[in-house]
């Protein structure tokens, strides 16, 4: 750190911070500073999100069936659907919170100077970029139409070789995910500030920590599975292809053995963000710190045992279906516990409603609907009707988008002052919230009804009786799109013209608010000492 550091009487560092510590593109590309790496993920993930969003709007516009000729050809439609899903899942929702917000926040919240392995951290970023590039090349050269789940034997026997590129991309990004997880776990264990015992770490860290465990344990399974697809397609090894003596359903076991835990890679960090936002904006200690912390770990553990609930009608035995159903119900409980804890945190607090809090409340609303409909699906007799219909589409958008994306947006608005040293316009944040929240419900609620009516997912065309609801859904998608445009403008405006941010604009208690905004290169001028729990609003 530079010795030029001085403090003003308000406790701000003057003008030396991580953003101007070294200048020029090269200083960013070679940076080992977790905060800068976090922002690089921010830029990357946002770009990918825009591309994924473009495909989403294309899908919805096509399904609105305005006019007599369909907007897309069937094959184009299938490719749109595949790219939308693969980009959003593997490149936006999974890395979004851990790699971007996590990277920025975790070391500061722990009172550390950086993550345990800064070089590895930069390496993870470039591995991610490489993976995204490989995957994107499949969009250009050899387009894929398998859907993000790559089910065999369609993916191995009946479609273009672009699948190899896409799975190779996902495989590569998997390494980035594993390495980031590893880095976080070691950082949490080794670099906590003096006095920060494990029961004093913020809940965001507990969430990232549980997520990291899943990443390390589950991602290799995905990697192996994807490699097997590649091997099957190039060498014809016959693991999944029945013509070669393989078992196509085996692929689904492998795939969901990763991808079910992966839905918790997506949601646990979101839950961490929500825990932070709700205490900060209620100005009250979180209710049931231990319950929230341990339920994260419990969810991480049980999430490995429920993959078969995606396969109730795949031909697996009835008994297997029943066992997976009951275990799935067990995951519902720690999820419910968290909701109750957050709500109790608001009880006798003093609540304010700035944009980040609105996103947190939006999360509560949407995630509750998503979670409750998960119980419908977990019940075998009910799921047989709903499986692979729009009901499932609505369910996972409510939990993944309503949950993770709302948390991500809330987190961005919350930590924005820390990242850039400037405030965003609260009005801009609130307008974007209204648009996204309303648009979201208009888009996805009708899909529950479409599912109940029997409309299958991934359909290029549908029965006339599904038309109205599909059109409503399409209108909603434009509201969401508009909401994100407003959010983007608000953020860019904040970076360029925003008011100067104080060190602790929200009056929060965790360590990142004890350093200047933006923080100095190594986070703190003097390493902080921790003497109490993370949310001591007494």
């Amino acid at each position: 750190m530079s010795s030029a550091h001085t403090k003003t009487e308000h406790g701000h560092s003057t003008d030396h911070n991580y953003l101007n510590h070294g200048s020029g593109i090269w200083s960013w590309m070679t940076t080992l500073d977790h905060k800068r790496i976090g922002l690089m993920y921010f830029a990357t993930v946002s770009t990918l999100f825009l591309i994924g969003g473009f495909f989403a709007l294309g899908i919805r516009l096509h399904l609105a069936k305005f006019g007599a000729t369909p907007l897309l050809e069937p094959d184009t439609y299938n490719k749109f659907m595949t790219f939308h899903g693969a980009i959003m899942v593997f490149m936006v929702i999974i890395p979004g919170i851990p790699a971007f917000l996590g990277n920025f926040i975790l070391p500061i919240q722990l009172g550390a100077k950086d993550v345990a392995f800064p070089r590895l951290n930069l390496g993870s970023y470039y591995i991610f970029i490489a993976g995204a590039a490989i995957a994107a090349s499949s969009m250009i050269f050899n387009q894929v139409d398998t859907g993000w789940t790559f089910y065999t034997p369609y993916s191995t026997a009946k479609t273009s070789n672009g699948v190899i590129l896409l799975v190779l991309g996902a495989f590569t990004m998997g390494f980035s995910s594993i390495l980031t997880g590893l880095n976080f776990i070691v950082t949490t264990h080794k670099l906590r500030a003096p006095g920060m015992t494990m029961d004093r770490i913020p809940l965001m860290i507990w969430a990232l920590y549980s997520t990291s465990i899943i990443q390390i344990l589950a991602t290799p399974i995905l990697a192996i599975t994807l490699l097997l697809i590649g091997a099957e397609k190039t060498l014809g090894v016959g693991i999944f292809d029945p013509d070669l003596g393989g078992d196509p359903v085996l692929f689904q076991h492998f795939f969901w053995f990763y991808s079910h835990p992966a839905v918790y890679i997506m949601i646990l960090p979101a839950m961490g963000v929500i825990s932070e936002l709700i205490t900060a904006f209620s100005k009250k200690t979180i209710f049931g710190y231990r319950a929230i912390a341990y339920s994260s770990v419990a969810i991480a553990a049980v999430s490995f045992l429920v993959w078969g609930h995606h396969m109730f009608v795949s031909g697996q035995s009835t008994l297997a279906g029943i066992i997976f159903s009951i275990i799935t119900m067990f995951v519902g409980v720690p999820t419910a516990i968290k909701l109750f804890n957050w709500i109790s945190t608001m009880y006798r607090g003093t609540v304010t409603f700035e944009a980040p809090m609105l996103f947190a409340l939006g999360f509560m609303f949407l995630f509750t609907i998503g979670g409750l409909t998960g119980v419908f699906l977990a019940s075998t007799g009910m799921d047989v009707h709903f499986h692979d219909t729009y009901f499932v589409v609505a369910h996972f958008h409510y939990v993944m988008v309503g949950g993770t994306l709302m948390a991500l947006m809330g987190g961005i608005f919350y930590w924005f002052p820390k990242m850039f040293g400037r405030m965003t316009s609260d009005l801009g944040g609130r307008i974007s919230w209204v648009l996204i929240f309303t648009g979201f419900n208009v888009t996805f609620f009708p899909q529950f009804i479409l599912g109940a009516m029997g409309m299958p997912r991934r359909y290029f065309d549908y029965l006339p009786e599904y038309t109205n609801l599909n059109q409503i859904s399409t209108v909603g998608s434009w509201l969401i799109g508009l909401g994100f445009v407003v959010a983007l403008i608000t953020m860019i405006h904040g970076i360029l013209k925003g008011e100067k941010a104080p060190d602790n604009p929200w009056g929060a208690k965790t360590l990142e608010w004890q350093t200047s905004s933006p923080p100095p290169h190594e986070n703190f001028i003097n390493t902080p000492t921790v003497t109490a729990g993370p949310y001591d609003f007494r």
Binding site: A336, M364, D388, Y459
Partner: protein, 320 residues
Amino acid sequence: MSWSSLIPATSFMPIQATEIAKEVDLLYAFLIIASLVSFVILIGGMTWFLIKFKRTSLDQKSAYITHNNFAEFLWSFIPLIIMMGIFYWGMVIFEKLRTPPEDIAAEIHVTAEQWAWTYRYANGKEFYSSANDPMIVPAGKATKLILTSKDVIHSFYVPAFRTKQDAVPGKLTQLWFEPKQPGEYIVFCTEYCGTKHSGMMIKIKAVPSEEYAAWYHAEKKGEDSPADLGKTLFAQKACASCHSVDGSRIVGPTMKGLFGSGRKFADGSQSKADENYLRESILVSSAKIVEGYPPAMPVFQGQLSDEDVANLIEYIKSIK
């Protein structure tokens, strides 16, 4: 009229063409009510707190409450009990959906491919699906489908019956239903299968059982019944040199009364001889060796088409 019809959301469900559909909808109505109640407790409670504890002045102080063991126990335990109930209720329905009754009036082999279905009846009637050729089944009686696929995974979904089952290449799965009334019901493919995934629609037409019988026995489309074809194959492939059809024991187990009987294997496991078991035993007999017999049967994988196997199975079923 039952209480569940008071829930408007159930009216979005397709018509209830089977008894099970009614039961599914009852569970659905219950789930909707339970969810609404939970939603109101959670989000209603939250909204109330938000209004009541809204910050009104800068020097306001929040209460200091860290946890409450009793409340936390209650809100873990009560959801657990409710979810166990939902699990159990779903399981009861699931078992009905998955267990065909003993008396099956029509049994149809359904083969999926990109992007059509073929169905073959026990007497050799065979249809390549099209909008004009619905699958004819008797109303008021149980029909069983034996599903497989030629290429990729497809899924046979009948919304009006609240049932679906994947058709997996290299495997036989089954599905049964009993439409209460004559009528036409739509069938979707629900497992993504490529370009014309959404175009793989067919219809099931349930007709009064006398009409069904008349239709079934009218001129056949196929030459011989699957069982007859199977019998010919049985002779051609020299199956009879090891398997008797009259109950006597030679090198391998007899075929008499085999279908539906319990099998015990050399490794101590057991199963029932259903279609899938027969299929596996014919193609790769070494997968499961019946206790007390040598693992002597050749592998027929690659030598018999799916249709051959289906015909052999029908023949074996006919040896009672």
